[in-house]
């Protein structure tokens, strides 16, 4: 589904990604772990098309198409979703209105019929139930005045409604207490499916106790330096990231 080869990217003239390669197949959950400054968030931002991230070399192929030439909204319509590390507060834009505009814009771009408000509300109610989220959140402005945990749950809720094929979770576990973390993890687990892939970017191993990954990669110095199964995460938890910089980049195989 996603094939990244030799990706180099710069932010403000500074090279952050230095030859990153990665392959993710449908149905898989991959965790990307690494120390601060390794390039984890840069990877998420490059994949979702944020301005200010300049790709200087390499390719990103998503379902056989070149993702890097697409504008962010086109990537979203093609099924790429980024759960933000810091979800943005947007005063004055109602959460429900926003989500319906997003879903219908994606459907329109894909040539599907837009949902009317009745159909949309029915869908939203189903998803709220699955996510165990109160509908009170729907009546507020997007993320405005939400607690850290509410913002992250709102990201997962949006993901549930938009049903992406490739979900990138950027430090979704950061800033959450253990109850909020479990809620978010339950939401992610409910969305796991053979057609959907997850890329979970995280600094800590604890999210992986609740969302068990198929593959764990270690990102350091702008490259994947090690790839393994979930036991790699436990090893990192035990020994920390010290010493990783000396490891040799791993092969592209997972």
């Amino acid at each position: 589904m996603l094939k990244i080869e030799n990706l180099h990217a710069r932010v403000e003239g500074k090279e952050i990604l230095k030859g990153l390669s990665l392959e993710v197949n449908a149905g898989e959950v991959h965790a990307i772990m690494g120390p601060n400054g390794a390039g984890k968030s840069t990877l998420g931002n490059v994949l979702s098309g944020r301005d200010g991230y300049e790709v200087t070399a390499g390719t990103v192929s998503y379902n056989g198409i070149d993702l890097l030439t697409m504008v962010p909204e086109a990537r979203a319509a093609a099924g790429v979703f980024l759960a933000f590390q810091y979800p943005v507060e947007i005063p004055g834009v109602n959460n429900t209105y926003f989500l319906r505009a997003a879903l219908n814009a994606q459907r329109k771009a894909r040539g599907e019929k837009e949902l009317d408000s009745m159909q949309f509300l029915k869908l939203v109610r189903e998803k709220l139930k699955v996510m165990q989220i109160s509908d009170e959140l729907l009546h507020r402005a997007v993320n405005e005045g939400f607690s850290g945990g509410e913002k992250k749950r709102n990201e997962i809720f949006q993901m549930a409604v938009l049903e992406p094929q490739l979900a990138i979770l950027d430090e979704t576990d950061s800033g959450l207490d253990i109850d909020a973390l479990k809620h978010v993890a339950d939401g992610v687990n409910a969305l796991r499916s053979p057609d959907r892939a997850f890329l979970m970017i995280t600094h800590y191993q604890r999210l992986l106790d609740y969302v068990v990954p198929d593959v764990v990669h270690v990102l350091a110095g702008g490259r994947i330096v090690e790839t393994g199964d979930k036991s790699l995460a436990l090893e990192l938890e035990a020994h920390g990231y010290a010493g990783i910089a000396e490891r040799q980049p791993a092969g592209a195989s997972a």
């Binding site: 944020r50 909204e73 990537r75 933000f84 947007i90 005063p91 926003f98 997003a102 938009l162």
Partner: protein, 434 residues
């Protein structure tokens, strides 16, 4: 400076005969204000209050005084209706009262609503004080012009203790004519002690024209009176509209104003409020959205003159294309107005590189135990918010419109009339560049 006497606008005003009422004090006031104007001329850029609004273009054009055919201009009455506004209606077309378009039957007890021309004819004395003013200040040229030339306007009174439920509707419509017209309207509004009123003031056009109009209004709120006032300005895109509104709030009076400045080529509004009674409260909420080559200037001046008075002002400006917005928000807390609470915020968005907004908050405090805050910003749409919306699939143009509309809507949040609020909200969205 001999220049002003040569300007065609000034020449056409000097040449226009003053209205004659036969009421000695009124005709004397007209002559005096006319003479003050002739002596002082137009406020050009050297007058601080007009620094950002150049009158040169306007001054080069001559105008015909009044519209002789105003009573026969075809106007579709259904075009005057506004959602949620179902009370009595007073309509002026090109400066003239139109009984056929107005709805003044069966006015509730305690409400007086009539054209100024009729009020003066019936009994001029109650209007003598408010209409006797001479305006000497250099920045008041259009008030002088208005005082000298206004033939009509709205006279509105609510008696002590009377609550008027249905929103009243004042309509000022500009209709196309053979040439460019100038007309002037004078409104006098008074709410008695404990009276309550919802008022909607609507400036609009029935077709393209480039008329000049001035509207001067006094609004007096007696003790404990309560006014909700909404102003929707949709003048023709070629029209010049210069307004001055003066509010006086007595003890515990409460006024809430919502203003949407959407139309006009050259628009200027001087909005002055004096909180003269203890515990008086004022909220102003305004949005101006100039586009094309529009120029929209709001000069808000609030004076706290009594104990424990409160004012809160929230203004949003959005300028696109080559348009220009001007906002001055001046708050004075006078000596003795202890315990006053004043805040003012003006945030602005520039949607194009050629648009301009000049904003100037001013705060002067001469009293004790005052809470005051003011701030102004000019910026562009937040890139993080735009990316967030796009990352969810919303196309760039739609994302920009969504954020801009949300930015403006903040000023409508506390407008209680839901139908009117929804209508204004959709007008704001229509105004956005595609």
């Amino acid at each position: 400076m001999s220049e002003p006497a040569l300007l065609p606008l000034v020449a056409s005003l000097v040449d226009a005969p003053l209205p004659v009422s036969g009421i000695a004090w009124l005709d004397a006031m007209r002559r005096d204000n006319h003479e003050i104007f002739v002596a002082g001329g137009l406020p050009l850029a050297r007058v601080e209050a007009w620094k950002y609004t150049a009158l040169r273009g306007l001054a080069r054009r001559p105008f015909v005084d009044g519209d002789e055919a105003a009573l026969t201009r075809a106007v579709d009455p259904s075009a005057l209706a506004l959602p949620g506004v179902d009370g009595a209606r007073l309509v002026f077309v090109n400066g003239a009262f139109r009984a056929d378009l107005s709805a003044l039957d069966a006015l509730p007890a305690g409400l007086t609503l009539q054209p100024l021309s009729q009020a003066l004819h019936a009994d001029p004395d109650p209007l003598r004080f408010v209409l006797s003013r001479r305006h000497y200040e250099a920045d008041e040229a259009f008030t002088q012009i208005n005082a000298a030339h206004a033939r009509d306007g709205a006279v509105l009174r609510v008696a002590d203790g009377v609550k008027i439920d249905a929103p009243l509707h004042l309509v000022f419509l500009g209709a196309p004519a053979e040439g460019d017209l100038a007309w002037h309207l004078r409104n006098v509004i008074e709410l008695g002690e404990g009276a309550t009123l919802t008022l909607v003031e609507h400036h609009l056009a029935s077709g393209e024209q480039a008329h000049l109009s001035t509207v001067v209004g006094d609004i007096e709120l007696r003790e404990g009176a309560h006014l909700h006032h909404t102003v929707l300005q949709q003048a023709a895109s070629g029209a010049s509209l210069i307004r001055r509104t003066s509010l006086r709030l007595h003890a515990r009076a409460h006024a809430t104003l919502h203003l949407a400045e959407l139309g006009g080529a050259l628009v200027r509004h001087d909005l002055r409020a004096e909180l003269i009674g203890d515990g008086a409260q004022l909220e102003t909420r305004g949005v101006f959205m100039p586009h094309g080559r529009q120029h929209v200037d709001t000069q808000l001046a609030i004076r706290h003159q009594a104990l424990n008075t409160a004012s809160s002002s929230t203004w949003r400006g959005v300028a696109s294309d080559r348009a220009r917005g001007v906002f001055r928000g001046a708050i004075v807390v006078a000596p003795g107005a202890d315990g006053s609470d004043a805040n003012l915020s003006n945030k602005n968005l520039l949607l194009s590189g050629s648009a301009e907004i000049d904003t100037k908050p001013e705060l002067e405090i001469y009293a004790d135990e005052v809470k005051a805050a003011h701030g102004a910003t000019v910026g562009q749409l937040d890139e993080r918010s735009l990316f967030y919306l796009r990352s969810r699939g919303i196309p760039l143009a739609e994302a920009r419109a969504l954020l801009t509309a949300a930015f403006c809507r903040a000023v409508l949040d506390d407008l209680p009339n839901e139908a009117l609020r929804e209508h204004l909200s959709s007008l704001l969205i229509d105004q956005l560049p595609a």
